[in-house]
């Protein structure tokens, strides 16, 4: 074997662990789920072929439809807010300040904390009888809502906690994006007499647009799959006002033992995410600038 061939052979060894795991834990399950979605299977008896039956059922499953709407409400609240907060933090920390490193660590801490811990702690903080949040609000003379026990407010609370947890991650991506912009651009703008806001609006923001695009794709994909915080904080309540898509998948699969139907729901979720990502990729040409 010649040296080039040997070198070529090596890459197989290097990528095979991740490829093996990708195949075992992603590709095989995805294909299995696709096949399973045409069956009725309760885990303990033999699967029964039902053709498109599961897909027909989900067209008139009102709980699933409600969960899509709640997921979209979550996305509508969470994605813009976490982007604005994340960008704000990044702009704040991009300047050379004292305690810059410490601030970055503090804002990134929630990102590396486990969702279960974060959700449980916030559930306590937001508790209307014993929680710190309402205790403080009442001290300031407010009449706070019952948060997780009140329709309308439960989703607001879930969005708020999600923003608190993820803003640090968005901040980090924006920081990287900001630091990749050469100082010469803003210096040139300043020399030309541009105000701070104009420099940000016409120089920084366009140059940051590839990062904005990346962040928005990542956030949308993740937020379509919102689950842990809902499962722990409200279990979809009160009165089903915070049920989300993944929760319906889990309930059907493991509470009701309807694996086939859950697999069909998973595929619909996959297609929704795929369509949105495709649309974003198409639209990016109109607003993403890779140079000025």
């Amino acid at each position: 074997m010649n040296r080039v061939g040997l070198r070529r052979g090596w890459w197989v060894l290097f990528v095979s662990p991740s490829l093996t795991f990708l195949a075992l834990f992603a590709i095989v399950p995805i294909i299995t789920a696709a096949v399973l979605s045409f069956y009725d299977w309760d885990l303990i008896t033999d699967p029964k072929f039902v053709g498109l039956g599961n897909y027909r059922e989900l067209t008139h499953d009102s709980e699933f439809h409600a969960s899509i709407i709640h997921t979209l409400v979550f996305i509508g609240g969470y994605v813009p807010v976490v982007m604005i907060v994340g960008l704000g933090l990044a702009l704040m920390l991009n300047k050379r300040r004292r305690l810059q490193g410490l601030s970055r660590v503090v804002f990134f801490m929630p990102v590396v904390s486990a969702w279960v811990a974060v959700a449980l702690i916030w559930t306590w903080m937001l508790n209307p009888r014993f929680g710190a949040v309402n205790w403080i609000l009442e001290k300031f003379g407010f009449d706070p809502p019952a948060w997780l026990f009140e329709r309308g407010w439960a989703m607001v609370a879930i969005i708020g906690v999600s923003v608190w947890k993820d803003a640090g991650f968005v901040m980090l991506l924006f920081l990287a994006g900001l630091q990749a912009i050469p100082d010469s651009y803003s210096e040139a703008a300043r020399v030309d007499g541009a105000s701070k806001f104009k420099t940000f609006r016409y120089v920084t923001l366009p140059l940051l647009s590839p990062t904005v695009f990346l962040v928005s794709v990542l956030l949308l994909i993740n937020s379509f799959q919102v689950f842990e915080q809902v499962w722990i904080m409200t279990q979809g309540g009160p009165v089903g006002s915070t049920t989300v898509i993944v929760q319906q998948i889990v309930r059907n699969a493991f509470t009701f033992g309807r694996l086939g139907y859950a697999a069909a729901l998973s595929w619909v979720l996959f297609l929704m995410i795929f369509a949105v990502t495709l649309l974003q990729t198409r639209l990016q040409r109109r607003w993403v600038h890779y140079e000025l």
């Binding site: 303990i44 508790n127 009165v239």
Partner: protein, 442 residues
């Protein structure tokens, strides 16, 4: 050619890794740990898989895995005592316990069965027995029929765990729901304690007076869900199913749900927001509830309450009606140790020693006809009025059971949530639940 060669290499490498991964998985999924150590025998499957060097198979005792929901958290020591007794009598068998909370129990059990990792023996409640037995997951116990007949079980309980005359599980224990009351709050409100002859009206009048005592005091708590509903409906002469049809939209059923809702609407029962995630049992223990309808399995949790409490038979309206919850134990159809598993279950459910431990711990009641066990049960306090437990059993309501049980319970709960929130009336909620249940009957 080169691409083909590379592809072959890639596939070979992937296979090699797959084999390694599979091998790792295999060694992890064969629990051979001795269950004699009671401190480690109380966790779920994943943590009891420490592998020890296996002795030759026929030399050591057979280890069987037993999965339970009723033992944790209060009765693990009692279960260990039963196992110790069994292992003394049967030195050739070791029992390894796995516990799960009731909420997750059946979904995890299903997954274990699907993954060919079912425990050798496991608990199954009456509501879920039908779907597990019809699916062929429980071992046919016909060969033990004469043994079962001679074990002293209540015939009715044994019959409940048979399908078309074939036994698929042994009756293990049963329980009922009674009305618990806080004597201090009754004294403060200046009302007489409840009696076994109370009716709905007596209960709601007392609840209103207790609720009037203060901001953080409520008169009553009863869950507004499937289980409370079918029983309350029966107390008003209404059946969940009649001849296989859903009849929860009948006027007496609507009246029953309205009765339940009125407790919340009138402020006698705390709302979810007022409870703020504190369980009904904890609220009772905190002295915030005058009365609570809950199971006799709470005796142990309430025994150290800071106030005196007692129980009575649940009040009915046009007729009486109390819950009857039965737990059985089954041998897995897939187990290779069915004989050892059956011996353990037989000991657990019918040996005098195990029954005595169960009675002494007030861990539900054994399904045995031996009257001396009840004498011992009744002599213990609290509660003083333990006779109410046996009196409740004179008029029991069995849970409505279908194969798609989980979905039915969920549909009822979802409709009731809307009624509690005031979005729909009791009649509308029951019509909605009925419409959701009918397609599940298949």
């Amino acid at each position: 050619m080169k691409t083909i060669k590379n592809t072959i290499r890639l596939v070979a490498a992937m296979l090699a890794f797959a084999l390694i991964a599979a091998a790792c998985g295999d060694s992890g999924s064969t629990p051979t740990e001795s269950a004699g150590d009671s401190t480690t025998s109380t966790t779920v499957a994943s943590t009891t898989t420490t592998t020890t060097t296996a002795a030759p198979k026929d030399a050591g005792p057979t280890t069987i895995r037993y999965l339970t929901f009723s033992a944790a958290p209060d009765h693990l020591a009692d279960l260990d005592a039963m196992i110790a007794g069994f292992e003394t009598d049967n030195p050739d068998v070791k029992v390894e316990v796995e516990t799960l909370p009731f909420d997750e129990y059946f979904s995890v059990l299903r997954t274990q069965i699907a993954g060919n990792d079912a425990p050798d023996a496991f608990e199954v409640n009456y509501e879920n027995f039908v779907s597990f037995a019809t699916a062929g997951t429980l071992a046919d116990l016909s060969s033990h029929a004469s043994d079962i007949a001679g074990s002293g079980y209540y015939q009715k309980a044994a019959d409940a765990f048979a399908l078309d005359g074939t036994p698929y599980a042994l009756p293990e224990s049963y329980s009922t729901v009674v009305l618990f009351y806080n004597k201090d709050l009754f004294d403060q409100a200046g009302i007489a304690y409840p009696t076994d002859s109370w009716k709905w009206a007596d209960e709601s009048a007392a609840a209103a007076k207790i609720a009037a005592l203060g901001d953080n005091t409520w008169g009553f708590f009863g869950g507004i869900q499937f289980w409370e509903f079918y029983k309350t409906a029966a107390q008003n002469g209404c059946n969940f199913f009649t001849n296989g049809n859903v009849t929860i939209d009948q006027p007496q059923c609507v009246e029953a749900l309205q009765f339940m809702l009125d407790y919340v609407n009138s402020g006698s029962q705390p709302t979810n927001a007022e409870m703020s995630g504190v369980s009904d049992g904890d609220m009772f223990l905190n002295g915030e509830l005058g009365m609570i309808t809950t199971g006799i399995w709470m005796f142990d949790s309430f025994k150290d309450a800071s106030f005196p409490w007692d129980i009575v038979v649940e009040p009915g309206n046009t007729s009486g009606g109390s819950h009857f919850f039965a737990n059985g134990v089954a041998v897995s159809a897939a187990s290779s140790k069915q004989d050892a598993a059956y011996r353990w279950l037989q000991y657990l459910t019918s040996s005098p020693a195990a029954a005595q431990i169960r009675v002494d711990a007030a861990w539900e009641l054994p399904t045995l006809t031996d009257q001396s066990l009840y004498t011992s049960y009744l002599s213990q306090e609290p509660p003083a009025n333990r006779e109410a437990v046996l009196a409740s059993l004179n008029n029991v309501v069995l849970p409505p059971v279908i194969v798609r049980q989980g979905e039915m319970q969920d549909a009822v709960g979802a409709a009731f949530d809307k009624a509690v929130a005031g979005d729909i009336t009791a009649a509308e909620a029951l019509a909605e639940a009925k419409a959701a249940i009918e397609p599940l009957l298949g």
